[in-house]
């Protein structure tokens, strides 16, 4: 029981310390990047863990366009 309490105190303490340090490190990093980095076009935030836009895959818009194309093609070239 006392082991578990010790583990909790040490664990939560460490998790907080670590992430607080990380907050400051991140803020510092962003500042440094903005100061020293040349300006660059900025990407808007995307949904995390989203499917990658794999180069080999066809995106929904394309798929839609293709579908239309096929439909037209088929209607024109009835076998």
């Amino acid at each position: 029981m006392s082991q578990a309490i010790d583990l909790m105190v040490a664990g939560m303490g460490f998790v907080f310390v670590f992430l607080i340090i990380l907050v400051f490190a991140t803020l510092l990093m962003s500042k440094l990047v903005h100061r020293f980095g040349p300006p660059e076009p900025v990407a808007p935030a995307r949904t995390p863990r989203a499917r990658p836009s794999a180069p080999s895959s066809v995106d929904p818009d394309t798929a839609e366009a293709i579908k239309k194309a096929i439909a037209q093609y088929r209607s024109r070239h009835k076998k």
Binding site: M1, L22, R49
Partner: protein
């Protein structure tokens, strides 16, 4: 005759019937209810395979040899295996229930070298490791499986929302109270004499509160491999139930007004920040918690491959072929730990019970932390994004968004909740590192 005495029907034990039913239930939940199907389909199927009577798919060569030798009175095999396992047995001695028990205990307690020797002897007699045992030792025993999954998850994670608002990382820290609260709960059950949990087992159970599959599997494979099946099933099942578990807690702890708080739009984040961030995390790990290095190292590596823009081939493979292959075998391997004699145990019930406590505590602490932060920060923070700190990416962030929309139809919290959500992944990996450091 051999066919009949060797058939499943002839040898089926009640525990196996129950476990097969549980496997089918997991498949049902995964396929019909959409409960984390990518993992629960292989786990459920693996669970059924592991409980096929006489097939021994989840057993080592030595365990298979002992099983069949005990059944067919092959005392010579038993005598050969008795030596490295330190069981008192001479060829020709009668096979008593005590002897069976002695072998069972010996296998459980054998050291790495003794077990290796026993397996070699069993292989000399023509017995082999079961298929699932092989999968388990390659994928989980070596810890490679969860780490590769974590790399793939890193390659799928966008830290943009977190970088735009780094202080939401604290929400990901607070929600880890779910982990340590559960450790305390398990220790309490042990102290009250209700269930037995060593501190190692309690820590492994607690990791369910991290709401992160690969972290759970990694930690339990290190601290308490015999509980891995129950812990992984519990973790994935509750992750799938996040949309049911979290909303009542979130609503109970917040007022309508708090839930309706609108947050200001996130600033755009530059490519360069995204490239440097995984390296910042890595350096923090280097400096402060080397024991989190395998998990967070692979996670950051995956994320760096994603963001650096020059290794798209690799990033793509890490997110697709590689993570899929690993998921298939990881799932089957976890399933191999759903054997009746190891799973059907009061501890499993305790683990399932504590698991839901873990999620509830984590959710509550995340929300409360967000309320606390809201007092001290200039920009308003909607407390609903606190619950996303448990991780369960991206489900928990979607729950935050949904509950937020209920309170205020113009209130889109998804992006804001993504910050604490991915911070929760880092937070639970850190907690995992601490527990491994202090306990192993």
């Amino acid at each position: 005759m051999t066919l009949w005495t060797g058939s499943g029907l002839f040898n089926m034990e009640l525990g196996q019937v129950i476990m097969i039913a549980i496997g089918l239930l997991l498949l049902f939940l995964a396929i019909r209810k959409g409960f984390e199907p990518l993992l629960l389909v292989p786990i459920g199927f693996g669970g059924i395979l592991a409980n096929i009577p006489e097939a021994g798919l989840a057993l080592t060569a030595a365990e298979n040899a002992i099983h069949f030798a005990l059944k067919s009175d092959t005392t010579q095999v038993l005598a050969a295996l008795a030596a490295p396992l330190d069981v008192a047995y001479q060829a020709g001695q009668a096979i008593t229930p005590e002897l069976k028990e002695a072998f069972k205990v010996a296998v459980k307690e054998a050291s790495y070298s003794d077990m290796a020797m026993a397996n070699a002897i069993a292989q000399d007699f023509g017995y082999g490791n079961g298929m699932l045992y092989n999968f388990y030792s390659v994928v989980i025993g070596s810890t490679i499986g969860p780490l590769v999954i974590f790399m793939g998850v890193g390659a799928m994670t966008d830290f943009g929302p977190l970088l735009a608002n780094p202080k939401t990382m604290l929400l990901g820290a607070a929600a880890q109270f779910g982990i340590f609260g559960t450790v305390l709960g398990a220790a309490l059950l042990d102290w009250l004499g209700i269930l037995d949990f060593t501190i190692l087992e309690a820590a492994a159970v607690g990791i369910i509160g991290g709401a992160d599959g690969p972290t759970s599997i990694y930690v339990s494979s290190v601290l308490a491999p015999h509980l891995l099946g129950a812990i992984a099933v519990s973790a994935y099942a509750y992750m799938a139930m996040v949309p049911m578990i979290q909303p009542p807690i979130m609503k109970a702890l917040t007022s309508q007004k708090e839930r309706a708080i609108k947050m200001s739009q996130l600033r755009p984040v530059s490519k360069k920040e995204k490239i440097v961030f995984p390296l910042v995390v890595l350096i923090a790990v280097v400096l402060f918690l080397p024991d989190a290095a395998p998990l967070l190292g692979m996670f950051c590596f995956g994320n760096l491959m994603r963001e650096c823009g020059v290794v798209e081939r690799l990033s793509d493979t890490a997110q697709n072929a590689l993570i899929n292959i690993t998921t298939i075998f990881l799932g089957l391997s976890v399933g191999s730990k759903l054997m009746a004699d190891k799973f059907l145990d009061a501890q499993t019930l305790g683990i399932l019970g504590l698991g839901i406590v873990a999620f509830a505590v984590g959710t509550a602490c995340g929300v409360l932390m967000a309320k606390l932060m809201n007092r001290f920060t200039k920009e308003a923070i909607n407390p609903l994004i606190g619950s996303a700190g448990v991780s369960a990416v991206p489900m928990a962030a979607r729950v935050s968004n949904k509950v937020g929309l209920e309170a205020n139809p113009q209130n889109f919290l998804l992006m804001h909740a993504m910050g604490p959500n991915v911070a929760g992944v880092i937070g639970s990996a850190v907690a995992a590192g601490v527990m491994i450091k202090l306990l192993s």
